[in-house]
């Protein structure tokens, strides 16, 4: 479903990704771990098409198409979803209205019929039940005045409604206490399916106790330096990222 080959990307002239390769098949959950500054967030941003991230070499193929050639909104319509590390506030824009606009824009782009507000409301109610989110959140403005946990849950809720094929979770665990972490993870787990793949980007292993990955990759200095199953995460937790420098390929190696 997703094939990243030798990806190089620059931000403000500085090379961050230095030859990253990764293959994700339908239904798989891949965790990307790594120290600060390794390029974890850059990967999510490049995949979802944020401005300011310049791809200098390599390719990303998503379900047979060149993902990098698509505008961010086209990637969304094609089923790519980024759960933000820091979801932004959009004052005065009702959360439900925002989500319906997004939902219908995607459907329209795919040539599907749009839902009217009654039909959409019904859908939202169903999803709210699954996500255990109070509908009070839906009456507020997008992320405005939300607590950290509410923002992250709102991201997962958007994901539940938009039903992407590839979900990228960018440090979804950051800033969450243990209860909020559990709730968010339960939301994610409820969305796991044989057709939906996840890229779970995290700094800490503890998220992976709740969202159990099929594969764990270690990203250091712009490249994947180690891959394994979920036990790799535990090793990292135990030894720290410094351990990699001795154990794996030296960080900062020529790309």
């Amino acid at each position: 479903m997703l094939k990243i080959e030798n990806l190089h990307a620059r931000v403000e002239g500085k090379e961050i990704l230095k030859g990253l390769s990764l293959t994700v098949n339908p239904g798989e959950v891949h965790a990307i771990m790594g120290p600060n500054g390794a390029g974890k967030s850059t990967l999510g941003n490049v995949l979802s098409g944020r401005d300011g991230y310049e791809v200098t070499a390599g390719s990303v193929t998503y379900n047979g198409v060149d993902l990098l050639a698509l505008e961010p909104e086209a990637r969304a319509a094609a089923g790519v979803f980024l759960a933000f590390q820091y979801p932004v506030e959009i004052p005065g824009v009702n959360n439900t209205y925002f989500l319906r606009t997004a939902f219908n824009a995607q459907r329209k782009a795919r040539g599907e019929t749009e839902l009217d507000s009654m039909q959409f409301l019904k859908l939202v109610r169903e999803k709210l039940k699954v996500m255990q989110i109070s509908d009070e959140l839906m009456h507020r403005a997008v992320n405005e005045g939300f607590s950290g946990g509410e923002k992250k849950r709102n991201e997962i809720f958007q994901m539940a409604v938009l039903e992407p094929k590839l979900a990228i979770l960018d440090e979804t665990d950051s800033g969450l206490d243990i209860d909020a972490l559990k709730q968010v993870s339960e939301g994610v787990n409820a969305l796991r399916s044989p057709e939906r793949s996840f890229l779970v980007v995290t700094h800490y292993q503890r998220l992976l106790d709740y969202i159990v990955p099929d594969f764990v990759h270690v990203l250091a200095d712009g490249r994947i330096v180690e891959s394994g199953d979920k036990t790799l995460a535990h090793k990292l937790e135990e030894h720290g990222y410094a351990w990699l420098a001795q154990h794996g390929e030296p960080a900062g190696a020529q790309a």
């Binding site: 961010p72 932004v88 959009i90 997004a102 403005a141």
Partner: protein, 495 residues
């Protein structure tokens, strides 16, 4: 942007013929009433401003002597005044002798085929129905026929309720005692440079009088009178609500009429007696100039309301998207005890537009309250300033003001400025001011796009959210159109 009223609808003859072409007049089965009219129709007044010009305007409008004198007094005062330069506006010096103060009618297009395609495209985007588009574009015949019927039914209903709603010219002739009593009582002829100029040469405007205890049965709107093909440069509007009367007045229409007039100096006066309420809503979209800052209207307007009686209320709601330059401070004088003044504003500037707008709340009576919500949106290379005065006089025991002033920037080359002035002379007063400046950030845009929402839709969604507090104050249809108008005005603002 009070639109110049059409005299057709109201069955007037004299001034009508001046403004409309012969074809329309014939179509309506009217005849020219006076010889000089025909002559003026073809020429208008030549450019220039003198006592003679003022007398001519007054004569054309067949005004009584007192009105002519009123105008002349204003004119003489105007001569002594310098043009104000305190606003944060860059304005080319005006040559007041180069302007024609009573222009001959423009030749109206005969069919929609003759109308500027760009204008039609905008109507299309705004979703204005076809027959209205014709009216708005100033296509003469249909528009006139349409409006005559609308105007008549509408006028009968109002008359039954005792409401007077007519052109200022007509009011001067028909209701001289009311006009003499109230005209200039809120904005005196010598109030400021542009108000003085307006007082001397105003061409027309609206007059509304709601008698004691009457709630106006409908929203009054200049929309119904939009067919005047030649919108005036100097309008004068006066609205009086007697004890306990209520009225809601909508100024302007939401489709962008292109008026190439360079200078537009209107005066609006509102008078609310005891327990009266006046709600005045404006959607202003004069021609803003092109994307290079060429052309566009200078909109220099004095609007003021006087809460003359106890427990009265005046609220201004404005959505300003047009004009090259906006200089406008709708104000409320809170004279009556417990009177309430409100100002809700959205001002959007794009390209090279400049807006210096805000309000004045003058607390004189006891326990008076005012609320100001100002939302400024700047895009392109435009400059948007909020300038507001909250003044609490000595006797205004228990006065209360809340001001919220938010600016939204789109892009890197625009500016937002806030100039709040406060003068508080009573220690029991509570005056609050909150101000924020934000940008439509790349983060917000990317967030929307990553969810599948295209860039332009994302911008209008964010702007709409920013303006929500003000849009809520607008009558429903107006709010919908105001929202669309912002979308159209912001086209190309990003990217």
């Amino acid at each position: 942007m009070t639109s110049e009223r059409s005299d057709h609808m109201l069955g007037d003859t004299g001034a009508t013929v001046l403004r409309d072409n012969a074809e329309v007049a014939e179509a309506l089965g009217r005849s020219y009433s006076a010889g000089f009219v025909t002559e003026i129709e073809s020429t208008g007044l030549p450019p220039g401003l003198s006592e003679e010009t003022v007398r001519q305007i007054s004569a054309i409008k067949r005004e009584p002597e007192w009105m002519t004198e009123w105008r002349l007094k204003a004119f003489r005062h105007w001569l002594t005044m310098p043009q104000p330069d305190w606003a944060k506006l860059k304005m080319a010096p005006q040559d007041y002798q180069a302007i024609s103060y009573y222009s001959a009618p423009k030749v109206a297009p005969k069919s929609l085929d003759e109308v500027d395609p760009a204008l039609l495209e905008t109507y299309e985007k705004l979703g204005v129905p076809l027959h209205e588009r014709a009216a708005l574009a100033g296509v003469a015949v249909d528009a006139v026929f349409d409006s005559v019927s609308v105007g008549t039914t509408f006028r009968k209903q109002l008359a039954d309720a005792g409401v007077l709603f007519c052109s200022m010219s007509e009011a001067i002739r028909e209701y001289p005692e009311l006009v003499q009593k109230y005209l200039g009582s809120v904005v005196p002829p010598g109030d400021n440079f542009f108000a003085a100029l307006n007082s001397a040469v105003f061409s027309d405007g609206s007059f509304v009088f709601i008698p004691k205890g009457v709630r106006c049965p409908m929203e009054l709107s200049t929309y119904f009178r939009i067919n005047a093909q030649n919108t005036g440069q100097f309008e004068r509007t006066l609205i009086v609500a007697e004890e306990g009367a209520h009225v809601s007045y909508l100024e302007g229409c939401t489709a962008p009429r292109r008026d190439e007039n360079q200078l537009h100096a209107a005066v609006v006066e509102l008078v609310a007696l005891e327990k009266a309420q006046i709600k005045y809503s404006t959607v202003q979209n004069w021609y803003p100039g092109d994307e290079n800052g060429v052309g566009g209207v200078y909109n220099l307007v004095t609007k003021r309301g006087d809460c003359r009686g106890a427990d009265s209320k005046i609220s201004w709601t404005q959505v300003e998207t047009g004009s090259a330059i906006t200089w406008k401070y709708p104000s409320v004088i809170l004279r009556g005890d417990r009177s309430v003044g409100e100002f809700h504003s959205v001002a959007l500037t794009h390209h090279f537009q400049q807006a210096d707008t805000g309000t004045k709340m003058i607390h004189i009576g006891r326990d008076t309250k005012s609320k100001i919500v100002s939302k400024g949106i700047s895009a392109g290379r435009s400059n948007n300033s909020y300038r507001g005065l909250v003044k609490v006089e000595k006797g205004a025991e228990g006065a209360r003001n809340y001001t919220q002033c938010d600016s939204l920037l789109i892009g890197k080359r625009c500016g937002a400025h806030t100039f709040p002035y406060m003068e508080v002379k009573n220690p029991s007063a509570i005056v609050e001011h909150e101000a924020t400046t934000s940008k439509i950030s790349d983060d917000q845009l990317f967030y929307c796009r990553s969810r599948g929402i295209g860039e332009e839709d994302a911008v209008s969604m964010i702007v709409d959210g920013f303006c929500k507090q003000v849009f809520r104050e607008l009558p429903m249809e107006f709010a919908v159109e105001a929202k669309k108008l912002l979308e159209v005005s912001l086209e190309g603002a990003v990217g």
